[in-house]
Amino acid sequence: MVKSALLFAILAVSARGQQPSPAAIAGSGEDEAAVVRGGEAFAAQCASCHGSAARGLTPQTDLMRSALVRADTRGDRIGPFLRAGHPPTKPATLNETRAADVIAWLHAHLYGVAHAGASEFLNLLTGDPQKGREFFEGKGGCAACHSATGDLAGVGEKYDPPVLQSLWLNPRRRRAVRTVTVTPQSGPSRSGTLERIDEYNLVLRDGDGAYRSIALEDDEPRVEIHDPLQPHFDLYRRLTDAQIHDMTAYLATLK
């Protein structure tokens, strides 16, 4: 019973064919419906030799690394190849439309192989939420600025795990305004919000909102910047990957 259920599950997956990610389909410019149909046709007629993602069961049947597939532009190479009958012993039965669908599916997969941004994240929630909570309230020092029932309430609902994990390590600047105090050797210091800084120039807005542009040399004037996000950046040198995963798992529970 268990065995046959498992077999059925595998068959169900292969019948659908392994679809490229939505980003790969979009990036390839192929029609999504055609790609889906192509995946089904590929699963039914091609996958037994070429694998569910066209990566082959042997090096010889790997279509993603096939020179003919890579050389193809809108079916100009694969189309004639299929029309000639492949495999020769028992050719696949693909009419022109279905062959075009399979070609679209192949191109979407090729795009996914070649583009880092076209792949999808796997499971990020591997950590222990309880340990994450302990870190949040203890060694992480997070509770000094944040509250699970205050500013972070609902973050587990609002963000997908990859975004959530990036955001708590590297929050968006938005409301986190940097302040600065500039002190020349001769003369009074000036403080305000830091509007911009580069190597040799700094702009601050002082208490009355006035624009103040200040020339900088290597050590003059003295520049002290307070960045409310700095505690996040300072974590990197001491965080373990397990602590990161625990924290993300904990924040994901804040729904």
Binding site: A53, R55, G56, P59, D62, M64, R65, A67, R70, A71, G112, V113, A114, H115, A116, G117, A118, S119, E120, F121, L122, N123, L124, L125, T126, G127, P162, Q165, S166, L169, N170, P171, I197, D198, E199, Y200, L216, E217, D218, V223, L229, Q230, H232, F233, D234, Y236, R237, L239, D241, I244, H245, T248
Partner: protein
């Protein structure tokens, strides 16, 4: 210096023979030091440096516009430089165009850059993004011949500045999206005919295959060596760095060290035979190409080679045999290594490989440094390199036992810090560090005998004191520096030239 003398120089040049009145190769000479022997401009008078001319170039630019990321050559009062698919000859006295050559590359490759031309007698050589080697007549810009050398449909794309050694024009492939092996090739300067081809991964019957699961993995193994190498005429060895192994970031189908990817290799330029190798990142899973310039240094009575590698390590090798002299991190945040093995090669920590739930790693894929060229001054004994201390989360996204192509994703984190480091070449320890106030972006470097180091930060072009790192001069450009600056003597004046986006800026004591 006339062209015959340039040719003579290139035929017999010793590592210490950078000419003063020209800049005839990608790195100025064969050594990769990017060190000008000129002292007219120096730490005392550099504050008077002012613009000579600035010219913006439009050309037949593809989408994205002109970006001068190549190093100009200057020979006989003419500057020769490139951006992607474009070559210009410009009067070095005025900035006026003499001729312009444009050929549009076809294909789906990323629109990256081009590092410049190589020169042999009166002929120029450059590569197109779609992998053609083209020779031009330097006097007219007319095409002499064009030779395709790699298939754009396999997503090879080429950016390297050709290096001319005697009658060999050395080029190499780029690209790592499609699980393709890289090549260094030598072509005949007269006809463009292929002389030899060295592949960055071994064939089934070659040494090194034992560092791959088999031929299938090695054939798809990457390692494209996309930056110009350096040359020692005494040893007759060409030194070049190779890129990351494929699939990018996912090592499950390529267990082993994956030679000769992420390595510094020494090739015989007459035969293309591998003489020695040193692997900067065995079994790389973070896209840390080891293509950064292998700089040739003669010191301590030895023939040495130094590289500040993208993975955050400084390597000093004996360039006669590739044996390690020093291997030491120059990046304080580096966290992926368990130390070095008996050969001085880093041992990657398997726990820091990309994982489905993310691993926190420094440096990011962009590296502790990258292709913008470093410099070395024999006067100070310091190796100058632009660095970024930054972190990323590395995610493995392809769970297949046979992943393909780009099999990872990266989430860049904040709080990065950038610095120009001056490393004691003997130890790799910083003699000084110039901390920048803003993160991100590494820029090319030029060192001069006038005790100066030129580089860029943000949109500034900057001169630092080569011995202390203090700012001596800076000026604002219209874009960040996009190439390695050069310097030469012309009409008794010392010029410094910087490429920033679509504009070439020249400076002199006027």
């Amino acid at each position: 210096m006339n062209r015959l003398l340039i040719a003579a120089l290139l035929f017999s040049c010793h590592a210490a023979a950078q000419p003063a009145d020209s800049w005839p190769t990608y790195n100025g000479d064969y050594s990769g030091r990017r060190y000008s022997p000129l002292t007219l401009l120096n730490a005392t008078n550099v504050r008077h440096l002012s613009p000579a001319w600035a010219t913006r170039f439009v050309g037949g630019a593809p989408a994205g516009g002109v970006r001068i990321s190549g190093t100009p050559l200057m020979v006989d009062g003419v500057l020769y430089f490139t951006s992607l698919d474009n070559v210009w000859a410009v009067d070095a006295r005025s900035g006026r165009e003499i001729w312009h050559f444009y050929r549009e590359s076809k294909g789906d490759m990323p629109r990256t850059g081009n590092r410049g031309v190589g020169m042999y007698r009166n002929w120029l050589y450059f590569v197109t993004l779609d992998n053609c080697l083209i020779s031009l007549d330097a006097a007219t810009g007319k095409q002499r011949w064009i030779v395709p050398f790699a298939d754009p449909k396999q997503l090879y794309f080429s950016t390297v500045a050709p290096v001319v050694i005697r009658n060999h024009v050395l080029i190499a492939t780029g690209g790592d999206s499609f699980d393709i092996p890289g090549y260094v090739e030598s072509h005949d300067p007269e006809t463009g005919a292929l002389q030899w081809k060295w592949r960055t991964t071994p064939a089934s019957d070659e040494p090194g295959i034992e560092t791959w699961p088999g031929e299938y993995a090695a054939n798809a193994g990457g390692g494209n060596p996309w930056i110009s190498g350096t040359y020692d005429p005494d040893l007759n060895l060409y030194f070049v760095g190779t890129g990351n192994p494929d699939p990018v970031g996912a090592g499950q189908s390529r267990q082993g060290a994956n030679l000769w990817t992420c390595s510094i290799v020494a090739l015989n330029p007459d035969t293309g035979k591998l003489v020695w190798h040193f692997q900067a990142s065995p079994h790389d899973t973070h896209d840390w190409d080891a293509v950064e310039t292998p700089v040739l240094i003669d010191g301590q009575g030895r023939k040495l080679l130094a590289q500040a590698s993208r993975n955050g390590y400084y390597f000093l090798l004996d360039r006669t045999n590739g044996k390690s002299v020093v291997s030491v991190p120059y990046l304080s945040t580096l966290n992926w290594s368990l130390g070095t093995d008996g050969k001085g090669q880093p041992i990657p920590n398997p726990a820091k490989e990309p994982a489905p739930d993310g691993t926190l790693v420094s440096p990011p894929t962009s590296g502790a440094t990258n292709w913008p060229p470093p410099a070395f001054s024999p006067r100070t004994g310091l190796f100058y390199v632009a660095t970024n201390e930054a972190w990323s989360l590395f995610y493995r996204t392809d769970p297949d036992p046979h992943p393909q192509g780009f099999a990872i994703r990266e989430a860049a984190l904040g709080g990065a810090r950038a610095a120009l480091l001056a490393l004691d070449y003997r130890t790799g320890k910083p003699a000084w560090r110039h901390e920048w106030r803003t993160p991100a972006g590494v820029a090319g470097i030029l060192a001069t005998a006038g005790n100066l180091v030129f580089t860029g930060k943000g949109s500034y072009f900057v001169a630092l004191d080569a011995a202390t790192g203090r700012t001596l001069w800076h000026t604002g450009l219209t874009n960040p520096l996009t190439n390695g600056p050069v310097s030469y003597l012309l009409d008794g004046k010392q010029y410094v030239v910087a490429g920033a986006g679509d504009t070439l800026f020249t400076f002199a004591l006027n």
